[in-house]
Each structure stands twice: as C-alpha cells, then as structure tokens.
Amino acid sequence: MTSKLLITLVLGAASWSMPAWLTAAETIEIGCVAPLTGPQAHLGKDIENGARLAVDTINASTPTIGGQPVQFVLLVEDDQADPKTATVVAQKLVDEGVKGVVGHLNSGASIPASRIYAENGVPQVSPASTAVAYTNQGFDTTYRLMANDSQQGKALGQYATRLGKRVAVVDDRTAYGQGLIDEVVKSVEASGGKVVGREYTTDKSTDFTAILTSLKAKRPDVVVFGGMDPQAAPMVRQMRTLGMKTPFMGGDGMQSAEFIKLAGPAAEGAVGSSPGLPLEQMPGGADFTKRFGERFGKVQIYAPFSHDAAVVLIQAMLRAGSAEPKQYLPELAKTQLDGVIGPIAFDAKGDLRDGPVTLYQVKSGQWQPVETIGGPAAK
C-alpha cells in the first residue's frame, strides 16, 4: 500500500514539475540497434551512448518540426551481432513505428535487417558496417558513415605502392578477406604498381611457410594480407623466421591490439588500416570526447559515428519539416553537414562520400596513426 501511494505521489510530483513544452511536444521515435550482449557488447553500448548523446543534445535545443515542438526518443534494441536476431528486432522497431534507425554494428546484421527497413521505407544509417554489399542492394533507405571495404582496399593499395612497386597479396578466402584484396589489387595496378604474387589461405590456417616461400621467391617490396588477426600474427612471425624483411600490411581485421599481442616483436613496423579518422584527429573529436566522457566515460570506437548517424537523421527531418520517412528521405540523401567525424555527404548508394581511411603502424608495440587517405584531408 505504502509503495503504491509513494509511486502515485512521485508520478504526481513529476507531472507537476514537467515543463509545459515537454508535455506538449510530440515525440518522434528513432531506433538504435547494436549488439548489447555477448563479446561485442562494449562496442554496442558505445553505439547506443553515442546516439543517446546526440538525441539528448538536440532535445535540449527545443527543436520544432512544422512549427510544432518535438522531442526525440531513442528505442534501443539488442541484435546480439546475430543476423537472425537482427531481422527480428528490425521488424519489432518497424512495428513500433520508428521514423529512422541508427544501426547495426556488424555487416552481417545490417544487411539482412536493411531489407526489412527498406520494405517499410524506414531510413537506416549504420555507424559501423563496412561490407560493400550493404549499400549495394539498390535500397534507397541504406546509408552509412564509415568508409566501406572497397575504400579501405583502395587506401591500402595506394599506400602499398608507395612502399614499393612489387606487391604480393594473400587472402583468407572469406568474403571480407577476398573482397578487400580484390580492391587492393585494383588499386595497386591503378597506382602503377605490380602484383607479383597472389596466394591464398583459410581463416583457420596457422602454417604459412609454404606460401610465404613462394612469395619470397618473387621478391615483393611489400606483402598485403586480407584476413583477421589470428592468421595475420603467425604469418608475420613466419615471414621473419623465413628471413623476409618485407613490410607487412593488412586491413582492419588485423588492426587490433590482439595482433600485436599475438605477433610479439614481429608486429613491429606492420601497417594496418581502419576506416574513419582517429578520434583525436576528428574535427569534433576533442569536444566530443569531453561531452561523452562526462556522461559515459571512454569512447570505444563507434560513439562518434552513431552520434553523427542520429544527427544526420534528425537534421534531415528538421530540414524537411516532417518526420515522415517519405518526406525527409530526399533531404537525407542531400545531407551536407560537418559532424564530429568530419564533413558528411552521401553518394548515390548511401556511402559516405570520400570516407577517410586511416593507416596505423606498429611502433614500440602500439598502433600509431601514420596517415589518413581520403576524407577531408584529400580535399
């Protein structure tokens, strides 16, 4: 009894103390999906927090749509980094009537979910998915704020040819590794380099001495690997064991702390790429780190991207004067704004135009940014 009374009292007090504009404002729901449980939960939470910061900041500025005051509400769902769950929560968000979605993290989740959003006309801005296929499905509702694997392969190829004209490549025959290396090969050839050897492995192998020996005989100036860190680390170790001093490069699959841990001293000098700018080099990075830090703590990776994803969606609604996807979708496509991550504009497919890719090098056991290819620096 007493607790019920207490709740009534608190609720009563709350409704009394609410400012008039808040109770009067229309609420617009925006979905936010990321893995909030499982091994990637910390990255998913990063996405949620980034989007939340954006929504709260915009709400505090008393936004209006068509002269009516509005408030934005974030509906958060957990896709567990699982393609099947992703479609289930996507359907749930659509049924709840969200006007736009920030998410998902994994390409494997974003791609199946994007079909559901597209069929229901709900715009989706992914802060993290990089697979080329995501924006290649012909949907007008799919957007992303991170350079895709094709832009990454291009950057890797350009950097590789600067280290030497003779480039050797290895991929692990996964969709990611093969896709990345195909782009590297194109880019190397476009930059005047020559692919002197192409070898293959699998995402479960640990012995690379045979393929490395074949490559060594072709005297490459640089070896580029498309795959993940459990293969990249033993590969670079075995290169050094075989007496190959050739520089070693790879994509974001190996640009991890795990790679340095597994490869040990052999990791030194390796170059890895990652989409986006390093946080400290983002135009709004310092300010964002401070504002985010006050509420949520340390930025993992994706918070600036999910923040901007929410901003991009809401700004399009405000410009269009409507939260109806049909009305604001054309405005979303025309987005031109300076986000935390840098200038944001989309190409016809919904990819970030001139998405920057940053190259990092292992120096004294740490990934240090060495160069950004594409993005604002290129202009």
Binding site: T213, R240, T241, P265
Partner: protein, 307 residues
C-alpha cells in the same frame, strides 16, 4: 634463393611435428587397435599448458633457460594425467566391447576436451611469449631459423628415445608383446593394464612435446588447434602404416614435405585453377589414395587376418 630447397626444409619441420603427433596415434593403435581421436586434443592441452606456464614464469622474472624446461615439464605432467585419465575412464571399460564403441567414445572425449579447454582458457588465442629471439641462417640459398633447428633436434631426440624405449627396454618388449597378442602376453606374465597405461603415458608425453614445439613455432595456441592437427597426424600414421612406429616417422615427414611442395606449387601446376588454400587437401587426398591402393600403409604389415 633456392625455392625447392626452402620448401623441402619447411616440409621437414612441418613433417617432424606431424610425426611426433602421429606416433601417439600409431602406438595406441598398435596395442589396442583403437584410433584415439582424442590425441589431437592432448597436443592442444600440451600447447595451452606450456604457453600459460611460460607466460606466468616469464612474467615472474624466471630466466628463459629455466622457464622453458619448466613449461615443458608442466605440459608433460598435465598431458600424461589427461591421457591416463582418458584411458581409464573412457577406453578401459570398453576394451572388450565391439570396436565401434571405443571409436565413438574417442570422438566424444575429443569434443569434451575441446570444450573444457574453451571454458578454461577462453575462446581467444594464446600468444607464445617471444622468449627465443629468432636467428636466421643461410644454408645453400635457403634459410633456416634457430627455432626450426630446435624443433628438428628435439623431435629427432624424442623419436630416437622412443625407438630405444620400444626396442631396448623391458617395458618396450612388453609393449611389443601386448601389440602382437594381448591375451597371450597376459598369460606370459605381462601386466597388460600397466603396459597400456604406459603406452598412453608415453604417447601423451610426446603430445606435450609436440604441443610446446607447435606453439613456439607458430606463436599461438588455441582450444581448437588439435582437431585438424589430429586428423593430419592420423593421416600420416595411416600413410606410414598405422601401428608401425618407423612408419609414423616416415608418414609424418612425407606428409609435411608433400604439403609444403603442394601448397608451394599447386597454383603454378594447375595454372591458377587451384590456389594454395587447398594445402589441407593433400593430407586427405593421400589418406584416400593409401587406403585405396595400399590399405596397410607404406611400412605396414598385412593385418587382414586380425581385423
């Protein structure tokens, strides 16, 4: 650089690792006619234990010259205990059961060990600490590293020791007698249970050595590493003639060399149609060929009358 020679050296190293593991399969098969599919997991346990101990010891400031033998000793102890336990719990109660039953148990044990390792060490890869600084020597246009030489030496010593044990000691004679005919050996006063336990002890100790060498060579250890390794070593044992100890040595070395040459040249030979990621098919291709044309293996004796 001499590519062919380099591929041969790579193959010999890989092959001596396969041979060490194949010995475990062949010894158990020789005595029990049981294919101990859990043997690959014993190697994995050896690798995981030696890496963990080495990491802990080097972090505590123990010098490498002491830490390495201690890590090996720990791996041997854990592997031997695991091997003997597996024999006692999973195989001994089924010794007189139809032959399919212990085979299925062996697969079950393999899955159990893998999952226990996953629970205990987690899903991530363990990194072998870089305690040995890599030195590379040039030999006739190819290169050999100090780690590779170490692997060859340790593998050769271990296998030499095993041959001595089997051919020159009382225990070895009891093992050979049990392999020939378990009942008669028992009647002649051989304690068959002890001999079988000893076989598992020796096989598991070899697996521990192999685990340490593999972890140090590739720099990583993982709960899942024993599966493919076990299959390949089993293929090597069949290639040499399962149940035959020199056969396991020969089979392992051959398989390593064939795999290296295959992975190195398959792309050129097939005009790029098959790439080097088909490296793993060689072991199994050879397994099929041997089983078709020479079921008893290269050095194996005809066992048709016993099967």
């Amino acid at each position: 650089m001499d590519v062919l020679l380099q591929q041969l050296i790579n193959g010999l190293i890989l092959g001596s690792l396969y041979a060490l593991v194949a010995l475990g399969y062949t010894m158990v098969y020789g005595i029990l006619e049981l294919i101990n599919f859990a043997h690959g997991e014993i190697v994995m346990v050896g690798a995981m234990v030696s890496v963990s101990v080495l990491v802990a010891l080097t972090a505590a400031g123990v010098p490498v010259a002491l830490a390495l033998p201690l890590a090996l000793a720990a791996a041997v102890v854990v592997c031997v205990v695991t091997g003997v336990l597996v024999e006692r719990v999973a195989y001994r109660p089924l010794r007189n059961a139809p032959r399919l039953a212990p085979l299925i148990t062996a697969i079950g044990v393999s899955i159990v060990l893998q999952n226990l390792a996953m629970i205990f060490w987690g899903r991530q890869y363990l990194s072998f600490p870089p305690v040995i600084e890599v030195q590379v020597y040039a030999v006739l246009g190819a290169t050999v590293s100090n780690i590779q030489i170490l692997i060859l030496v340790v593998a050769a010593l271990t296998m030499g020791g095993l041959l001595l044990l089997v051919n020159r000691t009382r225990l070895g004679r009891a093992m050979r007698a049990t392999a020939q005919n378990r009942e008669v050996a028992g009647l002649m006063g051989v304690d068959v249970n002890r001999v079988i336990a000893a076989t598992f002890i020796v096989g598991s100790a070899l697996a521990a050595v192999a685990g340490l060498l593999i972890a140090s060579y590739y720099g990583i250890a993982h709960y899942n590493m024993g599966f493919i390794l076990g299959l390949k070593a089993f293929s090597a044992a069949v290639l040499g003639g399962i149940g035959n100890i020199p056969g396991a040595l020969l089979g392992g070395l051959l398989l390593g060399v064939i795999e290296s040459l295959g992975a190195g040249y398959i792309g050129d030979l097939t005009g790029g149609f098959l790439g080097s990621h088909y490296q793993d098919i060689f072991a199994f291709l050879i397994l099929i060929l041997v089983l078709t044309f020479r079921p008893s293996g290269l050095l194996g004796e005809r066992v048709a009358d016993r099967a």
